[in-house]
C-alpha cells in the first residue's frame, strides 16, 4: 500500500542516540551513544536482559518516543524533525507494531481490530475490507474474522495483532517480545509467520526478545546491555 522508502543507505539508522529518563532528581541513562544500522529486508533480533533498553530503542525507532541526544532516521527521514502530529501520521503509514500482550481492542472482533490502522486512510469501506481480508489470510485466520479476542487463544490473538501490524503494508514491522506470552508451540507458529513475512514478502522486521530460541529465527542478532550494543554484535 505504501510506496517503499527509497534510500541508498540503511533503512534504519540510529546515530549516536542517548535516552535519559528523569526519576525525581536522578537521571537514568537508558541508552548511551548507540549506533545501529538496519538494511531493508533484514530480520533483526534485539536481545538483552530486562532493563537493558531494548523496548526503549524499539520505541525510538517506531517514533513513539524521542531521543535525548542523537538521531533516528528511517528511509533517510529524520524523525526528530517531525511534529507530534506529523509523527503520528508517519507512524500510521510506515510502522507496524506487534506487542507482547497483543493489545487488541476487546470490544472489537478480529476483523475490526485489523481494520483500525486503516480508519484514517482514504480507503473506502470495500477497500478496507479487502485489505483486512488479505492480512487475515496471510496470518491464516480468515475463518476467525468475526470472533472476538476473548474467544481466541493467545497464539490466535497474536496472529490478529500481526495482521493489524501488516495491514497497512508498512515499511518496518516492530515486534516487542511477540512470543513472550505464548507457549513454545504457539510461539513457534508466530516465529514461522514472522520468518515467512520476511522471506516471502520482504518485510523488514526488528524483534525485541530475550529468548535465544526466538532470536535464532532472525537473520541477525544484536545484544544490548546497559544501554549499549555489545561489541561483537554490531553489524
Amino acid at each position: 500500500m505504501n510506496e517503499p522508502t527509497k534510500t541508498n543507505g540503511p533503512l534504519v539508522n540510529v546515530d549516536g542516540v542517548e535516552k535519559v529518563f528523569r526519576r525525581g532528581s536522578e537521571d537514568i541513562h537508558v541508552l548511551r551513544d548507540l549506533h545501529l544500522k538496519v538494511p531493508a529486508g533484514e530480520f533483526l533480533a534485539l536481545m538483552g536482559p530486562s532493563g537493558s533498553g531494548k523496548s526503549t530503542l524499539l520505541n525510538l525507532i517506531g517514533g513513539l518516543d524521542r531521543p535525548t541526544r542523537g538521531s533516528v532516521s528511517i528511509g533517510g527521514e529524520r524523525l526528530d524533525g517531525l511534529s507530534d502530529r506529523l509523527l503520528a501520521g508517519w507512524r500510521a503509514r510506515h510502522i507496524g507494531f506487534v506487542f507482547q500482550l497483543y493489545n487488541l481492542m476487546p470490544t472489537l472482533n478480529a476483523e475490526r481490530n485489523v481494520e483500525l490502522p486503516l480508519l484514517l486512510t482514504h480507503l473506502t469501506k470495500a477497500e478496507r475490507r479487502k485489505h483486512v481480508a488479505a492480512a487475515l489470510e496471510m496470518v491464516g485466520l480468515s475463518h476467525r474474522a468475526k470472533h472476538f479476542p476473548r474467544t481466541m487463544s493467545g497464539g490466535e490473538q497474536q496472529r490478529v495483532g500481526i495482521a493489524r501490524g501488516i495491514v497497512t503494508d508498512p515499511t518496518l514491522l516492530l515486534c516487542d517480545e511477540p512470543t513472550g506470552d505464548l507457549d513454545r508451540k504457539a510461539g513457534d507458529g508466530i516465529l514461522d509467520l514472522l520468518q515467512a513475512l520476511n522471506r516471502e514478502h520482504g518485510k523488514t522486521i526488528i524483534m525485541v526478545t530475550h529468548d535465544p530460541h526466538a532470536s535464532a529465527r532472525a537473520l541477525r542478532t544484536v545484544h544490548l546491555d546497559k544501554g549499549q550494543l555489545s561489541a561483537e554484535a554490531v553489524a
Partner: protein, 384 residues
C-alpha cells in the same frame, strides 16, 4: 461514521455502568421536560396574550363586578378599537374535578376579539340563533365526548337561576379549534343575554373587559386613559396589557422560572459529576488501549475527538430518550383535570434540551479527553 462502531463498542464495554449513567442522564432530561411543561402551563398565558389587547378589571379585585355600560364609554376613548366583556361563571359539570372555564360572552364581539378561536361559519350562525347555545373548545369536547346537538347541564355555585333550577342547560352548537398549539381549547362560552336574563343577581354586571387598542405601541397610554375615565366612580378600574396580567397571575405562584432553573441547575450539576466521573474512570481503565490507538493510528487531536464523541453519544442518547419520554408523558395532556390546560413541552424547550445534552457531553468529556491527549504513548505502553 467509520469511527461509530469503535465508539459504540467502547460504550458497550461495561454495560451495567453505561446503562446506569444513561439512566441518570435520562432521568435528568425527563425532569427537564416535565418542568418545561409545568412552566409553560403556568406562564403560557403570557405567550398567547395579544400584544394589542388590554384587560380591564375592578381596581379592588377581579371578583368585583363592573357595569356593562362601561363598554360604550371605553369604546369612545381615543385609541380604543373594541371592548368586550366576560364574567367568571365557575360552573361544575357532573363533578368538581371536571374543571374547565365557562364564561358568558356576546358572540360577535367575542369572536371578533379572539381570532385565535377557529369556529366554522355555520356554527357561528347557529350560536347567534340559539339563545341557550354554547361553543366549546376541542379538548373539552373530546374529554367529555360532547358533540354538536348535545344538551349540557352545568351547575354554578356563584350564579343561581331565577327560576330556581339547579343547573344551567346549554345546547352545544359549535366546537372551536385553536389557531396554534398555544391556544387554549378547554373553555366553554355561552350567550351573555341568556345569562343576564336568567341569573338571580343584578342585571347589567360583568366580570372584566378585554379591550383592543388600535395601535399596540399606544397600549400603555390607552390603559392610563381608561383608568382615568373611571376615576372616582363607584367601580374604579385597573387596565393593563393582557401579557402583564397573565404574568401577575403567574407571579402569584412564585417565580416559576427561578424555581425551575434552580431545580434543573442542581440536577444537571449532579449529573455532570456522575457522568464526568464515569468518563474519567473509562479513560483511566483504557490507558493502554488509548496508548495502542495512538501508536498505530490516532493523533492527539483524534484521540480527543474520540473521547468527546463517546461522552457526547452517551449524553445525547440519554438526553434524547429522556426528552422523548417526557414528551410522551406530556402528550397525554393536562394531568390535573383542567388546572393546567396548556401542559406540553414547547418545541423551543425540546431544542434547548438537545443542545444541553450536547453541552453535557462536551463538559463531561473535556477533562477525560485532555487526560487522553496528554497520555504519552511510550508511558502508556510501559503500563502493559
Amino acid at each position: 461514521m467509520k469511527f461509530f462502531p469503535l465508539i459504540w463498542c467502547n460504550l458497550k464495554r461495561k454495560k451495567l455502568r453505561t446503562f446506569l449513567t444513561l439512566l441518570s442522564i435520562l432521568v435528568a432530561f425527563v425532569l427537564f421536560g416535565l418542568l418545561s411543561a409545568i412552566k409553560e402551563a403556568m406562564t403560557g398565558g403570557i405567550s398567547m396574550a395579544g400584544a394589542d389587547r388590554l384587560v380591564v378589571q375592578h381596581k379592588v379585585s377581579l371578583i368585583l363586578l363592573l357595569p356593562e355600560s362601561y363598554k360604550a364609554r371605553m369604546e369612545q376613548l381615543p385609541g380604543v378599537d373594541l371592548a368586550v366583556f366576560q364574567t367568571w361563571f365557575g360552573g361544575i359539570y357532573q363533578d368538581p374535578k371536571n374543571f374547565f372555564m365557562q364564561n358568558p360572552v356576546v358572540p360577535d364581539q367575542f369572536l371578533n376579539m379572539h381570532p385565535e378561536f377557529l369556529l366554522p361559519a355555520e356554527q357561528v350562525k347557529a350560536w347567534k340563533e340559539t339563545r341557550t347555545g354554547a361553543i366549546v373548545g376541542r379538548k373539552t369536547a373530546n374529554k367529555f365526548h360532547w358533540k354538536i346537538g348535545d344538551k349540557v347541564p352545568i351547575k354554578s355555585p356563584i350564579w343561581g337561576r331565577k327560576d330556581g333550577a339547579a343547573a344551567w342547560e346549554f345546547d352545544i352548537v359549535g366546537i372551536f379549534d385553536g389557531k396554534d398549539k398555544v391556544t387554549d381549547t378547554t373553555s366553554l362560552y355561552f350567550r351573555y343575554d341568556y345569562f343576564d336574563e336568567a341569573h338571580r343577581g343584578d342585571r347589567g354586571q360583568v366580570g372584566w373587559y378585554t379591550v383592543r387598542v388600535k395601535d399596540p405601541k399606544t397600549s400603555a397610554d390607552v390603559a392610563k386613559l381608561i383608568d382615568k375615565e373611571f376615576e372616582n366612580s363607584l367601580a374604579e378600574v385597573k387596565a393593563e396589557p393582557e401579557a402583564a396580567m397573565a404574568q401577575s397571575w403567574a407571579n402569584q405562584l412564585g417565580d416559576i422560572a427561578l424555581i425551575t432553573t434552580s431545580i434543573l441547575g442542581a440536577v444537571f450539576f449532579t449529573i455532570l459529576l456522575v457522568t464526568g466521573n464515569t468518563m474519567s474512570q473509562e479513560v483511566r481503565e483504557r490507558t493502554v488501549e488509548l496508548g495502542v490507538l495512538k501508536a498505530i493510528v490516532f493523533t492527539n487531536t483524534q484521540v480527543v475527538v474520540l473521547v468527546l464523541a463517546e461522552s457526547c453519544v452517551l449524553a445525547v442518547l440519554g438526553g434524547g430518550l429522556g426528552l422523548g419520554l417526557s414528551w410522551l408523558i406530556t402528550s397525554g395532556g393536562d394531568p390535573t383535570g383542567g388546572m393546567l390546560p396548556m401542559f406540553y413541552i414547547p418545541t423551543r424547550d425540546l431544542l434547548i434540551g438537545l443542545g444541553l445534552s450536547v453541552a453535557l457531553g462536551l463538559a463531561t468529556g473535556f477533562f477525560p479527553a485532555l487526560q487522553a491527549m496528554r497520555l504519552q504513548v511510550a508511558v502508556a505502553l510501559r503500563r502493559m
